[in-house]
């Protein structure tokens, strides 16, 4: 059983990776990381020597200045918290002898490109999943695919899982490419930089790798929802172009629409009001009554509906292609 499913995954992977478009996608991914790296490299001022020698005095001056300003900032809670965080982190640096970098570093670069590159990976995965489902109908290969001793549910699942494996592969490529480009542009010596996290008034030192993958994971919430929607549209309409166009449009326009509509209380039930979970960790939620639990529940409902509708259409409808 599991053996058979591994075979199905191998088949779907073969169909993804043997298409010419796969190489183009990976090339674009690496090319963009390289391009952004170059642009940042040549627009960042080089560190000055005084900054390297007297950094503790400079940090202390910064702390004193921030502390003086603090009482006057109580009105805006977010700004107030940011200042408190900066003070705590700077104090931690002086105490543990952790020099702040005066320019872009390898890890900061890896983190900086994550968001936009994952949007692009999302677009690619949408193309992969829509092609994987709809092209079988377009080309007529669906007939030979479905007359095997395998349930349609298993075929659909293998297509969905292989598309998500493509996302994982792309994330690994992104991580490795941005790490290498970051190193080339900003120096591999900054790879050992400490990652400082401030939470509940305490500063911790954590791993950058972990932090980057946490960011990847959070960014993938929106990606997975969009890809699932694309699979649903492809299964229902059996049309790849429609699935790609509609789901990418939703992914791009959704968050903007939600911002514009944020004064209505029903906006919180819209998918795109809930895909950005970072609104609960560093920022203000779209609407004050929204919580992390609420968003997860809304996401779960949308996800289940997408999967159920896509599954029903894929497994129940006649194949006339």
């Amino acid at each position: 059983m599991l053996n058979k499913f591994a075979g199905l995954l191998q088949n779907e992977n073969m169909k993804i990776y043997r298409r010419g478009s796969f190489k183009v996608m990976i090339a674009i991914l690496i090319g963009l990381v390289l391009l952004v790296g170059m642009i940042l490299r040549f627009n960042t001022p080089q560190p000055s020597t005084t900054a390297t020698t007297h950094w503790k005095q400079q940090l202390q001056a910064q702390i004193n200045q921030d502390k003086k300003q603090l009482p006057s900032l109580k009105a805006d809670k977010q700004v107030y918290e940011t200042f408190k965080k900066n003070i705590a982190i700077n104090q931690y640096r002086i105490k543990h002898n952790l020099k702040p970098s005066s320019s872009e570093t390898l890890w900061q670069f890896v983190m900086a490109v994550a968001g936009n590159m994952i949007t692009i990976i999302g677009v690619f995965t949408v193309i992969v999943v829509a092609t994987s489902i709809a092209s079988e109908f377009d080309s007529g290969t669906i007939k030979l695919l479905l007359i095997r001793p395998i349930y349609r549910t298993e075929i659909l699942l293998s297509k969905y899982v292989s598309a998500l494996l493509f996302t994982v592969l792309s994330l690994i490529v992104l991580f490795v490419a941005s790490w290498i480009v970051g190193g080339i542009c900003f120096g591999f010596d900054s790879a050992s930089e400490a990652h400082l996290v401030y939470s509940n008034g305490v500063v911790h030192q954590t791993s950058w790798t972990l932090a980057v993958w946490q960011t990847y994971l959070l960014d993938c919430v929106s990606l997975v929802m969009t890809v699932t929607a694309a699979g649903l549209i492809a299964a229902v309409f059996r049309n790849g172009g429609l699935a790609i166009g509609l789901s990418i449009f939703m992914m791009m326009a959704g968050p903007i629409a939600v911002q514009l509509l944020s004064r209505f209380d029903w906006v919180k039930y819209i998918l795109f009001a809930n895909t950005d979970l970072t609104q609960y960790t560093n920022g203000v939620p779209l609407r004050s009554e929204m919580t992390l639990g609420f968003s997860i529940a809304v996401l779960a409902v949308y996800y289940s509906v997408f999967v159920l509708v896509g599954w029903v259409f894929f497994t129940r409808r006649d194949i006339k292609a």
Partner: protein, 311 residues
């Protein structure tokens, strides 16, 4: 392959009906196809041949009725039923960006018991050894048809269903296929189901044919009965046609028409042929040749379906 081979027919249709919207596309089809025979589906365009095949392989649901493959219902026991089937439905569409070999590996992974040797064996059978590692997009129609047959044979099915298999094949390819289908049915007891517009082809290829018209089964018959029903046509080459025709008319009350300068043609029951020869000989007519004209399936088909054009 199955324990039921001896008791159950390879394919059994029971009151199969398909409606799309209000239109009845297939109307109450019931018949059986046995192992070891080549069964042909015959019918004009839009008769419902492809639709029937789609229902047999589970691509379409039936509105009413049931289909059993080696005793397993395609509705209730899909995996058990479909495991016994290899098929091409309409055109043999394969993944164009993969090689022929990769396509076969793809389908081999979806069933159990197909190893590398089996793939090579099937490739040899359809004579694709030289191009199996080329991308399918470079294949000609006939090569794709061969690859289609190869994927249908991979798992040694008990039922082989080919929708218009000769489409795109050259004469040699058609000959090879016909020979191979015969061999499969005779030696490996495969039930072979074909549909084709090439009626003369069907005549050579099939043991029995089922005629579909507007979704209804007009008849299931062996090719021989089918062709010969409605009388045998004979041609007589004689010295004096006019006299011979007169003798036949006067003594036997049968009509003979002039087919050639020295040849008469008539259609009659087989048993009458020696009677005519006796009568002519007694009347001193010199007979140079008696030829039984095999009526083509096409003529017969047009008779049965009411003279509607086929192509």
């Amino acid at each position: 392959m199955s324990n039921n081979t001896t008791t159950d027919p390879a394919v059994r249709l029971e009151h199969v009906t398909k409606k799309i919207g209000r239109k009845t596309i297939i109307d109450d089809l019931s018949f059986e196809i046995n192992r070891g025979e080549v069964f042909g589906f015959l019918g004009p365009n839009g008769a419902g041949k492809t639709t029937t095949i789609r229902m047999i392989v589970g691509l379409m649901r039936m509105t009413k009725g049931n289909i059993y493959i080696q005793g397993h219902s395609i509705r209730g026991a899909f995996k058990e039923a479909i495991r016994q089937v290899g098929a091409i439905v309409e055109n043999p569409e394969m993944y164009k960006f993969l090689t022929g070999y990769q396509n076969l590996v793809h389908y081999a992974r979806m069933v159990s018991g197909v190893d590398k040797e089996r793939i090579d064996e099937v490739v040899k059978r359809v004579h694709l050894e030289n191009s199996i590692h080329d991308k399918v997009k470079k294949y000609s129609l006939g090569m794709r048809q061969r690859l289609g047959v190869a994927q249908a044979l991979l798992h040694r099915p008990a039922v082989l269903i080919l929708d218009e298999p000769t489409n795109g094949l050259d004469p040699q390819g058609i000959h090879d296929l016909r020979h191979y289908l015969h061999q499969l049915s005779r030696e490996e007891h495969v039930a072979v189901v074909v549909s084709s517009h090439l009626l003369s082809e069907m005549q050579l290829m099939c043991d029995r044919i089922g005629i579909l018209q507007k979704g209804k089964l007009v008849g299931v018959e062996t090719v021989n009965t089918f062709v010969n029903e409605g009388g045998q046509t004979v041609r007589l080459t004689v010295d004096d046609c006019a006299f011979a025709a007169k003798v036949i008319k006067d003594k036997l009350s049968l009509e003979a028409v002039l087919a050639d300068d020295d040849t008469l043609e008539m259609t009659l029951e087989k048993e009458k042929i020696p009677v005519i020869i006796d009568t002519l000989v007694l009347s001193k007519v010199k007979i140079y040749a008696v030829v039984a004209v095999k009526k083509s399936l096409e003529q017969r088909f047009l008779e049965v379906t009411g003279g509607k054009s086929v192509e």
